[in-house]
């Protein structure tokens, strides 16, 4: 009640402040007049009565002030006054205000952008219902060095039927195939799922239904679910599509549902269609890890409990399903397979955590430097107002009020900086997202959310407190502001604030050193990566595109015809002017399209039950190496005849050959095979190593096979899905793709080309995360350096201006100009050297923290650790040279008369 009426009265007074003011005036006036009336009754004339009444009433303004305070709008009054005062003070020096606001805006903006990355990628839960229950189920085998094998159908069936910890499990796999809608063929991305996969993610269709267990059974009518964008694009969002039929890979399929717009499958690019996996339990063997899996934990079950559960089921699956043809039952036993479920969010995020935390730390350091700089500027300004404070103290102002003045000024600056910073962040966000688009997961989730705004407001508030506390602590002490006559240069006070400012500059230099060392390490990493010979040359002049001849066009029974068609297309494209060579492979370096399997080497161990280490496979047409610029170190390339005749030949990489033989030439004529029931295949060539996984990763041990082979894993093997590589100066242009399309159509008019791009694009993508980190850190380092220079210059220049008189005296007494400059430079050098020393020591630790981002250099990289301090010293020298030079130009006569 009491609090309520108090609040009400306060609100009322605030809302009707001018009216209250008016009423108070009227009330006092009434009192004085009533008193005067009474006095007049005792015979005093009116004029005299009014005068006496006023005297008896006492100081009207003082009474009013006390009333205001009693009534609780004193606080508001002060607030408005302070804000007005701060605004007026800032308007008087726009240069100062602009510099401070921009400094803070850049720092707040950078922090907001990076925090929204951290928030969107790392902090925000996945946008599915109860995301904490979602896990990804993977398998690994330490024995053969497989990290992420995915899941095998046999395991999927056993896990799904017998687990006790999961609500459900679903498998998925990405694919590309040809779809014909209303007569137009198109090559599209598709997602294969089992019937549990979509319900696990809690999605419900906007139209129709999802897959049932029946749809997912082998032999069922083919059904498809459309994604929202594809439905919009190809069907004009018609609701009549449900029940209609399209042609998928040459066979009819019924559209049964459409997914909502907001649904994205994990972090993948949206596919066009979703198809049921239709794994056949009756034909399943143990092995062939050909999908990935997600699952939803039962409520209250931990990932660890699920792991134990799956570990129990893995041997059950091995007993339930037979091994594939040509593989011994003990083959998989010896792989020591293990299920490795992890939280789905961790699976989606991958290893980007380090980069983002490092970037956030770097921008927070930038904010620190910015605050130090602004605090410095503010301290100098506050010292300039020393005289004003002295007067205010003399007439009884409280330190609290003077501190409030400074706080309001800094608050106003910080708010302005924060708002502009937020605007900058909105703009910069697009650039950063574009920069990180190819290598940062969950890019769709990155935006400015309420929590990002809260973060921006918090750092703005902290910044305004930080920048105000140094001047408040150092320059408002009333005991030090005593001498009105001094005009603002009381010796003790000046020195104390000067000390604080020097400390701030040292902090700035130290933080700049840390940021510059990190940037330097990233630059060195980038250089080291550029220096790696990737195993191909001039990737920007290699045009690649996907091509797939479906079995509806050429059946599996005549695989040679597929190779004939491939060869015909290669010859056609080679005839295009400006094209120097053309070939075909299963996958390109850096395209992430891996295939790994163990390989046996003749007369080596690994026979019997032991599993040899796995190798990366690629399947190639003749000319692949020469087109990419990969050198053959020994032997020969494949020929078309090798394919038609199914000659048992193989090419291996240098690292494979080195494992068994001393020189590449020694490998020629030796024999290998994939499974022990296959015939041996002769090594006819050894290629140089190619960095298939990215330049910073070791190049895998490769085995290259022809496109068409007999008795490979017990079957005839034909590589239908292929990537064409075309070496041409015109790579990446539409005109080249048009010519290629024309040539391909002349051989096969009904198969569309897919995913065209240059190897150069893949190459820069593989370096994208390093480039991204590099750019972001260099921006942070650059800002810090710039602010550092301004800080050093500011402190030196100010101290020179304060000591003008002293310099004049020194020169009048015979000091040389050079020694005066030297004195000033020495002062600057001292600050910088201490800052650098502190920064270097801190960097020793920081460099260890970012070591996972580095490649090809040690964290304590001597080049970086020498270059950065030298650079900073040089820059600091320049920053203090100007004031030093000015000091030496001081005219002793002018200086002595100064002020």
């Amino acid at each position: 009640m009491n609090l309520w009426s108090r609040l009400r009265s306060w609100v009322r007074t605030v809302l009707r402040r001018s009216r209250a003011e008016h009423e108070m005036e009227a009330e006092v006036q009434f009192h004085i007049e009533a008193l005067a009336d009474d006095l007049m009754r005792s015979g005093i004339p009116r004029e005299e009565a009014l005068r006496k009444a006023r005297i008896e009433f006492g100081g009207v303004e003082r009474v009013k002030e006390e009333c205001r305070e009693a009534h609780g709008f004193k606080f508001m009054e002060d607030l408005l006054y302070d804000l007005r005062f701060a605004g007026r003070v800032l308007r008087k020096s726009p240069g100062f205000a602009v510099i401070v606001i921009l400094t803070l805006a850049i720092a707040v903006g950078a922090n907001t952008v990076i925090f929204s990355l951290v928030n969107g990628v790392l902090l925000k839960p996945l946008s599915y219902p109860n995301p904490d229950q979602l896990i990804a189920i993977d398998h690994s085998s330490q024995q053969i060095g497989f990290e992420k094998m995915g899941i095998a159908p046999a395991l999927y069936f056993v896990y799904r039927e017998q687990n006790t910890t999961l609500e459900d499990i679903g498998a998925y796999d990405n694919d590309e195939l040809d779809v014909t809608v209303a007569g137009t063929p198109e090559h599209v991305r598709v997602l294969d799922v089992t019937d549990g996969t979509l319900p696990i993610l809690g999605v419900s269709p906007v139209l129709g239904r999802l897959f049932t267990r029946h749809d997912d059974s082998p032999g069922a009518t083919q059904t498809v679910v459309l994604t929202y964008p594809y439905w919009q694009r190809r069907f004009d969002a018609a609701s009549t599509v449900i029940g209609s039929s399209i042609t998928v890979n040459g066979a009819p399929a019924e559209i049964i549902g459409v997914l909502p717009q907001s649904f994205h499958f994990l972090d993948q690019k949206d596919p066009s269609l979703i198809l049921p996996m239709q794994w056949d339990r009756a034909k399943t063997t143990f092995g062939s890890f050909e999908g990935n899996a997600i699952a939803r934990l039962k409520p209250g079950v931990s990932v660890k409990e699920a792991t134990t559960d799956l570990e129990r089921l893995l041997p059950v699956a091995m007993r339930t399903f037979p091994p594939p043809a040509g593989v011994g039952a003990d083959y998989f036993q010896s792989m020591h397979l293990k299920p490795t479920p992890i939280a789905l969010k961790d699976e989606v995020i991958g290893n980007v955590q380090n980069v983002l935390w490092v970037l956030l730390a770097s921008t927070i350091l930038v904010l620190l430097v910015a605050c130090a700089n602004v605090a410095n500027l503010l301290t100098i300004r506050v010292e300039g107002r020393h005289h004003e404070f002295a007067i205010r103290y003399a007439i009884g102002a409280a330190r609290r009020r003077i501190s409030a003045d400074i706080l309001f000024e800094s608050g106003l600056l910080a708010i302005a900086g924060g708002l502009i910073g937020l605007l900058l962040a909105f703009g910069a966000m697009r650039i950063v997202v574009a920069l990180g688009a190819t290598n940062i997961p969950r890019i769709r989730d990155i935006n400015i959310t309420p929590s990002v705004l809260v973060f921006a407001i918090t750092i703005t508030a902290i910044a305004s407190l930080l920048i105000a506390c140094v001047p408040i602590l150092k320059s408002t002490n009333p005991r030090l502001i005593t001498d009105l006559r001094d005009g603002g240069r009381a010796a003790g006070q000046g020195r104390r604030a000067q000390g604080a400012r020097k400390a701030l500059v040292m902090i700035q230099v130290a933080v700049s050193v840390i940021l510059l060392i990190c940037s330097g390490l990233m630059i060195r990493t980038f250089r080291a990566m550029m220096d790696v010979s990737p195993g191909f040359t001039s990737p920007e002049t290699i045009q690649a595109f996907g091509f797939y001849i479906p079995d509806t066009q050429i059946p599996d029974s005549s695989p040679e015809l597929v190779i004939r068609m491939d060869e015909a297309i290669v010859r056609k494209i080679t005839s295009i002017p400006g094209v120097s060579s053309v070939s075909i492979g299963r996958s390109l370096p850096l395209d992430g399209n891996d295939s790994n399997n163990p390989v046996f080497v003749e007369n080596r161990t690994f026979e019997g039950s032991e599993i040899p280490p796995s190798r990366r496979f690629n399947y190639l047409a003749p000319g692949f190496f020469s087109t990419l610029g990969t050198r053959l170190l020994a032997g020969r390339d494949f020929t078309w005849a090798d394919n038609y005749d199914k000659t048992p030949v193989v090419i291996v990489s240098k690292s494979f050959a080195n494992e068994f033989w001393r020189r590449p030439e020694d490998a020629l004529g030796k024999r290998v095979r994939m499974v022990s029931t296959d015939p041996w295949r002769e090594i006819i060539g050894v290629s140089e190593d190619v960095h298939y996984d990215g330049v910073e990763k070791p190049s895998p041990s490769m085995v290259y096979w022809p496109l068409l082979m007999d008795h490979f894993g017990g079957h005839t093997r034909l590589q239908r899905a292929t990537v064409f590589v075309v070496r041409s100066q015109l790579a990446g242009t539409q005109s080249l793709m048009n010519s290629i399309q024309q040539q391909v159509s002349s051989v096969n008019p009904s198969v569309p080309l897919a995913n065209s791009g240059t190897l150069g694009h893949l190459y820069s993508q593989s370096m994208a995360r390093t480039t991204f980190t590099l750019v972001m850190l260099c921006v942070s380092g650059g800002i810090a350096l710039l602010l550092g220079i301004v800080g050093i210059y500011g402190v030196i220049a100010y101290s020179v201006s304060q000591r003008t008189r002293e310099m004049g005296i020194r020169m009048a007494l015979g000091a040389e100009r050079r020694s005066i400059s030297f004195m000033v430079l020495r002062q600057g050098a001292f600050l910088v050297l201490i800052g650098i020393a502190v920064g270097l020591i801190a960097s020793l630790f920081v460099a260890q923290l970012i070591r996972t981002l580095l490649y090809g250099i040690q964290p304590i990289d001597p080049v970086t650790f020498v270059t950065v301090p030298v650079l900073l010293l040089a820059v600091a020298f320049l920053a203090s040279y100007l004031p030093a030079w000015r000091a030496s130009r001081v005219d002793p006569m002018v200086a002595l008369r100064y002020e």
């Binding site: 009640m1 009491n2 309520w4 009426s5 108090r6 009265s9 306060w10 009423e23 108070m24 009227a26 009330e27 006092v28 009434f30 009192h31 007049e33 009533a34 008193l35 009336d37 008896e56 009433f57 006492g58 100081g59 009207v60 003082r62 009474v63 006390e66 009333c67 205001r68 305070e69 009693a70 009534h71 609780g72």
Partner: protein, 115 residues
């Protein structure tokens, strides 16, 4: 008025006196002052202006409330009234005061032999 016989107001008692005066009926500020002086038979010295901060404080605390009305000589004046909370407050203050006065008086009456 004979200023020499007037007493200075005891610290903190003005609020209580205002509450008492207002409890007798609605008055404007000047009226409250006159009423207090009248009841005290001019034995209390109250600085005219010091009344208003006290009135604003009491109103802010919700013990009195005010509205504008017309005075006996047809001027607009602000009239103060006691609220229910003010009534309770006045009662509490009065009891407190009487109790305190008794205690103090008893102490002051004490003779040396009684200790």
């Amino acid at each position: 008025l004979d200023k020499d016989k007037q007493l200075d107001l005891l610290q903190g008692t003005l609020d209580m006196l205002i509450l008492k005066a207002v409890s007798l009926g609605p008055f404007h500020g000047y009226g409250i002052l006159l009423r207090i002086q009248q009841i005290s038979k001019d034995r209390l010295e109250i600085q005219q202006g010091s009344l208003y901060p006290a009135l604003y404080r009491l109103e802010h605390q919700g013990w009195i409330t005010s509205e504008w009305g017309e005075s006996e000589n047809k001027r607009k004046a602000k009239y103060y009234r006691l609220t229910a909370a003010g009534k309770r407050r006045l009662q509490a203050e009065t009891e407190n005061w009487n109790h305190m006065a008794d205690v103090i008086a008893a102490i002051l009456r004490t003779k040396p032999e009684e200790v």
